[in-house]
Amino acid sequence: MIAARLRPIMAGAAFFLAGAAAIIGTPTRSVRGSVDVRTLASEVARESDHVTALELADWIRAAKPGLQVLDVRSAGEFDRYHIPTARSMPLETLVTTTFDPNATLVLYSEGGGHAAQAWVLLRALGYQHVFSLRGGLEEWLEDVMHPAAPTDLTRYFGGFARKPGDAPLTVDALRRHGC
């Protein structure tokens, strides 16, 4: 019977395909992270997961070693305006990029939501020194670029004082403000 002669071939094929599967491991090229949720929860509760805009501004001005400011908004939004020294890192690019494990990574987004999510993702991938800018770019504009009481940081970054009655600073205004 033909089938009888096919049996060893089928068995061999199954063994080979299964062995190759065992070596490859998983069918999907997934990027897996793992999270100790208790650790992360306490970091968030203690607020050691975020930095304020003023702290970030200080770090940038002091050229803190190993600092990387990551903008998780889209490339278009990044081009319109970004925090000085920041790199464009939309979320999907962020999770497949390898960073120096000793670097200090500061994530920011428009209002802080996506940056907070990115914080969890990078922590899940094992990075230890990760922070998110809690109030996002809005906090940066309000506290660094357009505060009521300008500090030397404001002047350093080219911001200006907010006078009573001024509208909150927008990114467009900043672009037009340059010369």
Partner: protein, 176 residues
């Protein structure tokens, strides 16, 4: 609408061609005289398992789009025991009872009728069975997750077990 029909036709034809529409042939499994059930079932499992792994690996199939039935261990073990007993007594399972009935076998019809009655009774008794039914129901849970081992390794293990089983089955049948 056509897809399930076509798949069903192929399913029924494959079962019939294997002889699984015959209760006499099926029960041979339990008396170790005819291990066709084991051979067909596990060859099918291995084929689909390997096929899925490699199609996914080649990017031709999205595994997340495939529905994995949920696991509820207590209910599935209890249900398995009851089902297995019924299988040994009837000599046909739900799918093969349809094939048997379609081949003119009256016992296939009777088994199918019994299935209907059994499901009806179990559904009516659902309020009583609900605690067992839902005990430990935890959604899809796969062996790779259980053993913390990559799926490719689990697949290799299953294939080895199946191949060993086939060798054993051939020996048992020769002795029968």
């Amino acid at each position: 609408m056509v897809t399930p029909l076509l798949i069903g036709i192929a399913f029924g034809a494959a079962l019939e061609r294997a002889g699984l529409g015959s209760a006499r042939k099926l029960t041979g499994q339990f008396y170790l005289t005819d291990l066709t059930v084991f051979k067909v079932m596990f060859t099918a499992i291995v084929t689909a398992m390997l096929g899925l792994f490699w199609l996914a690996r080649l990017g031709l199939v999205d595994l997340s789009g495939i529905y994995v039935p949920e696991t509820a261990l207590a209910a599935q073990i209890a249900g398995g025991v009851v089902f297995g007993a019924g299988f040994a007594i009837a000599g046909l399972c739900p799918g093969t009872s349809c094939v048997a009935a379609a081949s003119g076998r009256g016992d296939g019809v009777a088994t199918a009728a019994g299935m209907f009655a059994g499901m009806l009774a179990a559904g009516l008794a659902f309020p009583l069975l609900a605690p067992l039914y839902s005990a430990g129901a935890r959604g899809a849970w796969t062996v790779p997750d259980l053993l913390h081992v990559r799926s490719g390794v689990v697949i290799f293990g299953v294939v080895l077990m199946a191949l060993a089983g086939f060798v054993l089955a051939e020996r048992l049948e020769r002795r029968a």
